[in-house]
């Protein structure tokens, strides 16, 4: 246990550190000796070299998802890509219809974009997932009307790590002639993505969940059949008019290198991470009243989202100060609502409040996992000793039968 550095980072779905190999490439694009030029400068060497670096990165991003580099539009991250995709398509195709379908478990970047479109007069259907977090395709079909212009369903959920069946949804959307957008911020380097095969029209990416820098992302915009978008950012007409703004060469180069490494190392990395996740799961699963949130099978290797009944999430996080994890508890956010994702799965508030998301990544070690198991077990025991609900559960009292004095 000697050489473990605390706190232990187990929040790779929030963001990842930049891989040192990526950082090295990025720092070559900053100073006067490096590739600092404006890729849009056509009149000199500095611009040409920067453009070459951007082109290489565009190819590297396209390669990871088997797309054409001309289908990649740089953005500031997945939030911007989601906005550009959904607003851009809804606005462009509004003569065809005014209905959008998405899911209640989407990231806020999608949900809030849809809310904005509602304010503009669009109608949005927010589908409930099944209890395991996955979309029921029949529900999607039933919600579709002749007014539906955009379907937006995320690939991998950021909280529970479940993987949606993008292939099946894509088949349906294409058959109906509906634009299909996928938020893939959490899936690059974790799940195979083959855009020659998947019938996806628009796909959002970001670098900082895949060992690249924050503040850079991309939107895949299909060329065949061609998808049109209304630009959301106007200016110098960069990125074929879809997204103006001087390209951030160092960020883009970082994203390219990060995605290149992801493609190269994904298979072995996933295997190692899955082993660590299963070790963590097995180390906790024999405790009483422990529930995994979301489907365990259709799930990325690095995610374990688990609820410890009768223990409140924020106090658990506090006891786990040596672990950097996140919680579905309301207390960790500004609102008093517990995680809307867990609520959408039909989890009751108590279980939502007591959930912890562990996300494991490239730099996680076996020693760290074993240390985490010990800490979590003793914290849960300590807090259950403090918990009146645990006493009641042990006494056989059904908590649902109690009349609580809510406040």
């Amino acid at each position: 246990m000697s050489d473990i550095k605390l706190p232990i980072y187990l929040d790779y779905s929030a963001t990842t550190p930049i891989d040192p190999r990526v950082a090295a490439k990025m720092s070559e694009c900053l100073t006067i000796e490096g590739t600092f030029g404006n890729p849009a400068s056509r009149s000199h060497e500095f611009g040409w070299v920067a453009e070459e670096a951007v082109d290489l990165a565009r190819q590297q991003v396209a390669d990871l998802v088997n797309a054409d580099p001309r289908e990649i539009v740089w953005t500031s991250g997945a939030t911007e890509a989601d906005n550009l995709a959904i607003k851009g398509a809804a606005h462009f195709y509004k003569k065809k219809g005014n209905h959008i379908i998405t899911m209640k478990t989407e990231h806020k970047a999608v949900l809030d974009t849809c809310r904005q479109l509602e304010r503009e007069g669009f109608e949005v259907t927010y589908l409930d997932p099944q209890e395991n977090g996955l979309l029921d395709l029949e529900k999607l079909k039933a919600a579709t009307t002749d007014q539906t212009v955009v379907i937006s369903v995320m690939h991998v959920n950021n909280e529970i790590g479940v993987i949606q069946d993008i292939e099946a949804i894509g088949e349906f959307a294409r058959e109906q002639g509906i634009i299909f957008h996928v938020d893939a911020a959490q899936s690059t380097g974790k799940v195979e993505i083959d855009l020659q095969h998947l019938k996806v029209d628009l796909m959002s990416f970001c670098a900082h969940k895949t060992y690249g820098p924050k503040g850079i992302g991309a939107l895949y915009v299909r060329r065949k059949p061609r998808v049109r978008l209304e630009a959301q950012m106007h200016g110098g007409g960069h990125e074929r008019g879809m997204r103006s703004g001087t390209l951030a060469t160092h960020q883009i180069v970082g994203m390219g290198e990060a995605f290149r490494l992801a493609k190269e190392e994904m298979a072995t990395e996933n295997e190692r991470i899955r082993m660590l996740r299963d070790r963590l799961y097995n180390g906790l699963n024999d405790m009483e009243e422990v529930y995994v949130n979301g489907d365990l099978e259709h799930r990325i290797a690095g995610n374990l989202n688990i609820s410890f009944n009768f223990v409140e999430g924020e106090s658990l996080i506090m006891a786990l100060r040596d672990l950097a994890v996140s919680s579905g508890s309301a207390c960790t956010s500004a609102s008093l609502e517990p995680s809307y994702v867990l609520r959408a799965l039909g989890r009751n508030d108590e279980l939502a409040h007591s959930s912890i998301r562990f996300t494991i990544g490239r730099f996680t070690t076996v020693e760290e996992i074993d240390y985490a198991i010990g800490l979590v077990r003793s914290a849960v025991e300590k807090l259950r000793d403090l918990s009146p609900l645990w006493d009641m559960y042990k006494a056989g009292i059904d908590l649902n039968s109690v009349e609580w004095v809510a406040h």
Binding site: E312, A334, L389, V405, A406, H407
Partner: protein, 125 residues
């Protein structure tokens, strides 16, 4: 979220955790709801002279809720029921330096005292 030293101290070393054997001298107050993320159970043992001679708590909730109830068990001991009822959420919040989003924890602790006193008095009627 950053916690004050006092919250951390009560959270790390909660005072008077436990359960009092229920009889006529014991008042029990349970407030809050699991769905809201906090439930406090406060028990007071009252002497024949009407002085709170022991107090125990169990709390399901965030660190500030645990600290508020732990603090309250210390404060009520040695007080008469009327004196204990004077303890207000503002005192608790001030002592623990609770941030605005955690004021409800101190309110809950005040409610718990009131509920325990009510319960004790109802047994005496």
């Amino acid at each position: 979220m950053a916690y004050s030293e006092k919250v951390l101290d009560h959270y790390e070393n909660p005072r008077n955790v436990g359960v009092l054997e229920d009889d006529d001298s014991v008042g029990t107050g349970m407030v809050g709801a699991p769905a809201c993320g906090d439930v406090m159970k406060l028990q007071i043992k009252v002497s024949n002279e009407g002085i709170i001679e022991d107090a125990k708590f169990k709390t399901y909730g965030c660190g500030s809720a645990i600290a508020s109830s732990s603090l309250v068990t210390e404060w009520v001991k040695g007080k008469s029921l009327d004196e204990a009822a004077e303890i207000k959420n503002t005192h608790i919040a001030e002592e623990l330096a609770l941030p605005p989003v955690k004021i409800h924890c101190s309110v809950l602790a005040e409610d718990a005292i009131a509920a325990a006193i009510d319960n004790y008095r109802s047994k005496k009627q």
